[in-house]
């Protein structure tokens, strides 16, 4: 029985051996508003909506609202504090885009580089409409 307990204890301790390097990323407590919501639910909703559309730069396929990376926590805290200070979400997004480029924002933006993404589907629809009208429309058999 005692041996069984010893083995079990050893088994339980085993994951700790592998967990230490992961935990060693940094030892500071998270930023003040990384995991704490704003007291005003309306402001928190505003901040959360913005956080869902900002990219976590360390984990890259997650939003900062989704990520547990320390830097995402720092970004969340920054977003919440700025929202609480009365800054508009779009101003905060613009501040981040100024620093990290369009990459940091998940929200599609019209720019000299991205306009074809919006223009091409519209152009294709127009072409399809014209082609179909030529084929079926008019009612005049040729």
């Amino acid at each position: 029985m005692r041996r069984l307990i010893a083995v079990l204890a050893l088994l339980c301790a085993l994951p700790l051996l592998f967990a230490t390097p992961l935990a060693a990323q940094d030892s500071l407590p998270p930023a003040p508003y990384a995991y704490r919501q704003l007291d005003d639910p309306a402001l928190e909703a505003k901040a959360h909506a913005l956080m869902l559309t900002l990219r976590c730069l360390k984990c890259q396929s997650q939003s900062i609202a989704d990520s547990d990376a320390p830097m995402a926590g720092d970004m969340r805290s920054q977003v919440r504090q700025r929202i609480a200070a009365g800054e508009s979400p779009e101003a905060i997004r613009a501040w981040l885009v100024e620093r990290y480029g369009d990459y940091v924002s998940y929200e599609p933006r019209l720019s000299p580089l991205t306009w074809p993404l919006f223009a091409v589907p519209a152009a294709l629809l127009l072409v399809a409409f014209l082609l179909l009208r030529r084929r079926f429309g008019g009612g005049k058999p040729r």
């Binding site: 060693a24 100024e98 990290y100």
Partner: protein, 182 residues
């Protein structure tokens, strides 16, 4: 009908050609190795104003005013918990030996940890600011550690080096510092 035939034969392949082009574009985008680096958009812009308390008692804290005046300097974003930061320390020591002024920003770090890091890897920094919530890191568009920025004498960010400076990259960094003198 007969004079239309050659034109129709040509246009018949157009949708397939367009589709093939689209597939080629998708394959190119998917097979090309993706860059994991996020470049700062702050190159060419003045260093944002900041003032950080000292990370260790042995060195003063760092403010944006310390990065202005005279010659270009290096701003090294590092952390004691970051292994590549330890790997690049001999290169920072070489740069310091070459007369380069290097200031550090310690990201999310404890005083004792920074002290142990500097004792182990040497201290090439003139000043070290403690950035507990990555505020300065965000302000300059840095997304990881280590990163090294060349700041010219007027306090303008001139170059960003992402990742550790490897031994063969030291001359390149010195070159960037010389370019920043202009």
């Amino acid at each position: 009908m007969s004079d239309q035939a050659p034109a129709r034969r040509w246009t018949m392949w157009l949708p397939l050609a367009l589709f093939a082009g689209f597939v080629a574009l998708v394959l190119y985008g998917m097979l090309r190795p993706a860059s994991r680096e996020v470049e700062s958009a702050m190159i060419g812009k003045p260093l944002p104003a900041f003032a950080l308390r000292a990370a260790v008692p042995e060195r003063p804290g760092l403010s944006s005013a310390d990065m202005q005046g005279g010659k270009p300097r290096l701003l090294n974003i590092f952390a004691s918990w970051c292994i590549p930061c330890a790997v690049e320390s001999p290169q920072l020591a070489r740069l310091q030996a070459a007369g380069v002024e290097i200031h550090g920003v310690a990201i999310r770090d404890r005083q004792a940890d920074v002290q142990a890091f500097l004792a182990r890897n040497g201290n090439p920094f003139g000043r070290i600011g403690a950035d507990d919530v990555s505020a300065v890191q965000m302000a300059i568009g840095s997304s990881g550690v280590p990163e090294t920025f060349v700041i010219d004498g007027r306090g303008v960010i001139r170059y960003q080096h992402i990742g550790d400076i490897r031994a063969e990259q030291v001359p390149m960094i010195l070159e960037k510092l010389k370019e920043a003198e202009k």
